[in-house]
């Protein structure tokens, strides 16, 4: 394992829109798996990723119930990353841009996500060994 470092990631894509979200979550997972402390700053549409009211749904076209469909909800991925970090003993800090949250009405977030501002992103980046911004196109 690498020496423990602090890595910050900025995400901007809303859920269910882009493969970038999948790749971003895979990067977060790999970073925690390697024992690094991870910060996430969610900006614009990405603040909906930990929205607590996301609900899995059935698939009537294929005749599958919600349980059979196992529709993924990103809030569970966020929670799973936080749980993984707790198990590994590393830090995991998810900050949602508050203005972006208010614009979109997604204030109810899973417990591991907190409200902040772009100033938090600056502080995170300043305190990190490295920062990756995954912007929308």
């Amino acid at each position: 394992m690498n020496d423990r470092k602090t890595l910050t990631f900025a995400l901007m894509d809303p859920p269910y829109e882009s493969a970038r979200t999948t790749t971003a979550f895979r990067l977060l997972h790999a970073a925690i798996a390697q024992g690094h402390d991870v910060n996430v700053f969610a900006y614009e549409g990405a603040v909906a990723l930990p929205f607590a009211r996301q609900a899995p749904h059935a698939n009537a076209t294929h005749g599958r119930s919600a349980e059979e469909e196992r529709h993924p909800v990103p809030r569970e991925w966020v929670d799973a990353l936080a749980a993984m970090a707790r198990e590994k003993g590393t830090a995991f800090d998810w900050v949602n841009c508050g203005l972006c949250v208010d614009e979109r009405g997604v204030g109810e977030a899973v417990a591991c996500a907190r409200r902040g501002s772009p100033a938090d992103f600056w502080k995170m980046a300043e305190a990190s060994h490295n920062t990756l911004v995954i912007g929308t196109r």
């Binding site: 890595l7 970038r20 790749t23 990067l27 790999a30 390697q34 490295n130």
Partner: protein
């Protein structure tokens, strides 16, 4: 000298900027910097042998370390036998390792 890590997520036939990013990688490498180009998502389509992604081949020839995300390759049904020479198949965790090592990173 610095080290640079570029993530390329776009298909070369979708965006001409892919070629521009390769040019940047080549110039940085020729200036003596360490450069890694990590192909993810549709960026891995450029890694196939026979694709006319000339700048990618030039980047490899120039010494840019070109890696392709094994997950993205599998998603797209691209077997390792179909990759251009010089492209290394890698898990995304290798990119995290470079981030942790302080490589300056940019996403495209």
């Amino acid at each position: 000298m610095a080290n640079y890590l570029f993530f390329e997520s776009r298909d070369v036939f979708e965006s001409n900027d892919v070629q521009r990013l390769c040019e940047l990688a080549i110039q940085l490498r020729r200036a003596g910097h360490g450069v890694a180009l990590f192909l993810v998502q549709n960026g891995t389509l450029s890694a196939r042998a026979g694709v006319a992604a000339s700048r990618l081949h030039q980047a490899i020839a120039a010494g840019v370390h070109v890696l392709a995300d094994e997950f993205a390759l599998a998603e797209r049904g691209i077997g390792t036998e179909r990759l251009a020479g010089g492209v290394e198949v890698a898990p995304l965790g290798e990119a995290v390792g470079l981030l942790a090592a302080g490589w300056k990173a940019a996403w495209h």
